[in-house]
Amino acid sequence: MSGQEAIREQGLWDRKDVHHDKIGTHTLGFWLYMLSDSMVYAALFGASVVLGHRMNAAGGPMGATVLHPLSAYWETLLLLASGLAYGLALQGLKRGRKALVLAWMTVAFLLGAGFAALSVHTLLALIARGITPERSGYLSADLALIVYHALHIGLGLVWFLVMMVQVAVFGFHPNVVYRLLNLKLFWFFQSFVWVLVFSFTYLRGVLI
């Protein structure tokens, strides 16, 4: 295409004045951040593979002594249900109904808090039995994965609270909307990771 034609078609300067898509950029950026976080998880999964041999338990407890699939199973259901509740809250967002969003977010928060309480309880029970990360490389790796996930859940709960306040105060301001979408990415990504943790750390772990 010759220069003149190109100019006639498009002009030299933008005429539409479309600013960048703020919501889309923020969610994509946050998703990239989540993917970088997933690399930390990958490294931690790598740690539990490398440090998952019997030798790495250094004669200490391993497998079924440490891990309780049943409580983990309840945690799984709680987290998945919390995700579902947040999905319903987002349905409220789609319809633009503030009360619906707040109600379902409360449910999601409570279910998530239940998950957090259960995992803290499990960890405390382990520590009470003297099963601590200081005991062996195996325990360090396994518990690191679980604790790192639990930390995310804790941060997520704080975020839930902040977002409920923001929805109540600002309504559906673009900033609130993209943060709600980011929270969705964050929260569902934690359940995705939990699926892997549950399967490979808990279920596979008790087989060793």
Partner: protein, 117 residues
């Protein structure tokens, strides 16, 4: 001023939210994980087949989460999300897989498990 900033709820990412997908992923994930939990607790099979079952169920459940909950689909508003995640998959495999492989050889060549009490 972009139109989405005036009307954030008209943004494609909001419009593409689908509650049916959330419900479906919840049901699928819960069912799959329940299944693998049951087979492990019942101790029904041999360890290798249990491991395969767990991995398979985990893979399916993870896929359900990714497609259903995180909505990594080919919809125009979701394409980049899906692409970015797909590009990361080889990296997970390299990070975990290659590491596991080389430490497996390292274990057989340098580790002295019998010296550990």
């Amino acid at each position: 001023m972009s139109s989405y900033e005036e009307e954030p709820l008209s943004h494609p990412e909001v419009r593409d939210l689908d509650v049916r997908l959330s419900v479906a992923s919840f049901v699928a994930t819960a069912a799959l994980l329940t299944f693998s939990f049951m087979v492990v607790v019942r101790d029904a099979w041999s360890i290798p087949s249990l491991s395969i079952a767990i991995a398979l169920m985990a893979g399916l459940a993870a896929a359900a989460q990714l497609i259903g909950a995180l909505q990594l689909t080919l919809a125009p508003s979701r394409r980049w999300f899906t692409a970015c995640f797909l590009l990361c998959i080889p990296l997970y495999m390299l990070t975990v897989g290659l590491t596991a492989w080389m430490f497996a050889t390292l274990y057989t060549r340098t580790m002295m498990p019998h010296l550990m009490p």
